[in-house]
């Protein structure tokens, strides 16, 4: 039997810099950065458009199973290195591709970095 492809949606919790919490839903396959920006939150400037070159999409990630996250690439590692306020939970949200297994994760927007 053929598999019917549906546009799977993934929901996660976002905490913005002012401490407000909200739920965000985005289609599997796009990045968390895209989903957050599409929700109208502009605390994530995403200056480079998601090409992993600006670090203005820095977030802290919790309750996300590591095996379903793309590994941190050397370029992301370089950028996170520049970011002040880096923690073990740090990721660049443009590199976090939504998938069903990440449903329910919690994302906090990191403080803005000035390089």
């Amino acid at each position: 039997m053929g598999i019917v492809k549906v546009n799977t949606m993934v929901t996660f919790h976002l905490e913005t810099r002012d401490g407000t919490r909200r739920e965000i839903t985005g289609a599997a396959g796009i990045s968390a950065m895209e989903a957050i920006r599409a929700s109208g939150c502009d605390e994530i400037a995403a200056t480079c458009g998601g090409s992993c070159s600006c670090a203005t999409c820095h977030v802290y990630l919790r309750k996300a199973a590591p095996e379903f996250l793309p590994p941190i690439s050397p370029t992301e590692e370089d950028l996170l290195d520049f970011a002040e306020d880096r923690t073990e939970q740090s990721r660049l949200s443009c590199q976090v591709i939504l998938r069903p297994e990440l449903d329910g994760m919690e994302i906090t927007v990191a403080p803005a970095s000035a390089f």
């Binding site: 396959g29 200056t47 480079c48 090409s51 992993c52 070159s53 670090a55 203005t56 370089d78």
Partner: protein
Amino acid sequence: MAHDFGNIDAMIADPRTYMDRATYHALFAHLRREEPVRWTAPEGIAPFWLVSRHADVHSVESRASVFLNAPRAVMRPVAVEEALAARQAGHKEIIRSMNNMDGEEHRQVRAITSRNFLLPSVRRMTDEIDAIAQEFVSRLIYKGPETDFVQDVAVWYPLRVIMALLGVPAGDEALMLKLTREIFEEKSRDEFGKQRDQAQLGFFSYFRDVLEDRRKNPRDDLATTIANGTVNGAPLPEFESLSYCLTVATAGHDTTAATIAGGLLALIENPDQMQKLRADVSLIDSAVEEMLRWVAPVKHFFRTAAEDTRIGETAIRAGDSVMLAFPSPGFDADMVEAPEEFRVDRAPNPHLALGSGPHACLGQHLARLEIRQFFLAFFDRIDEIALNGTPSYSPSSFISGLSSLPVKFTVK
């Protein structure tokens, strides 16, 4: 506002359409309104969906695993694609660089040089770029008080920056400029492709020697980084490493030069905006974004659908190709307030002149810094500036911008 554009397929394929700013923007306003995802089939060119709305271009770019960069990058006649495929084991583009790759391979190839182009790395180059900008403003003054801003200044400045980074000596810059023009310009439909072919060979023989040299004598430049680049632990093959050099060498200067020249023209044509920016140079960053939106020198790249999908309401079949018209989203009234107005303080400014998603312009932070430092240096020294003739544009459906901007000016 019914406007009969006649044969839209032919217009999209015709390099002259891109030389006429008013017609180009009227055409795309029509497309965004009436046919936002348009099946386009110019004679002699493989057909494609032409995507013009902001939401749609953005959505295609963010679904990078569905809309692939391989195998088709730019518009060219089927006859040229077939000739290339015959000589390059089926590959239909003149190069194979990160722009023709997807997924993990793209990530690794881009990562070979990406460290040099990260926003924090680029910020550290500010003083060097500023010094080069000042040198070229001083050249402008020397050439003045009447000069062709494009031919005398704009094309040379970003060329100096990218060639210095790449490691090409200043003495070879004129050759690089000539080859770049041959890659991007289309003199006529008949020659479409032929001169690009020659230029590709010219670039390749030049960079073959450079790469060879850097493997033996490493230096602190991008050529050395590319010469020693690896993918999955293996050295980058020759075609790919030559393509890399060609991409960095060509992508980095005509685009930036066009934006600086087009930005200056917009300021001259909008004296209130020139005045506003001069009075408050802290607006420089938003002014740079507005210049990028206004000029958007990269007219398209393609994507190819990997599976059946949709763009907005339109069903797309696996294998269909999609042309992303990068200037158009910046003029989409759904996203941009009063898009026909040039405003140096525009914010937000969600243009897509640099693309978005994993393939978004590698050199974007460098380009922004170059434009920024140029205008800061320019406002320091130049007083009044006015048009001194008719500007003209280069004929290309891929990368096109001002080829001549006659100006006269006074120095402070």
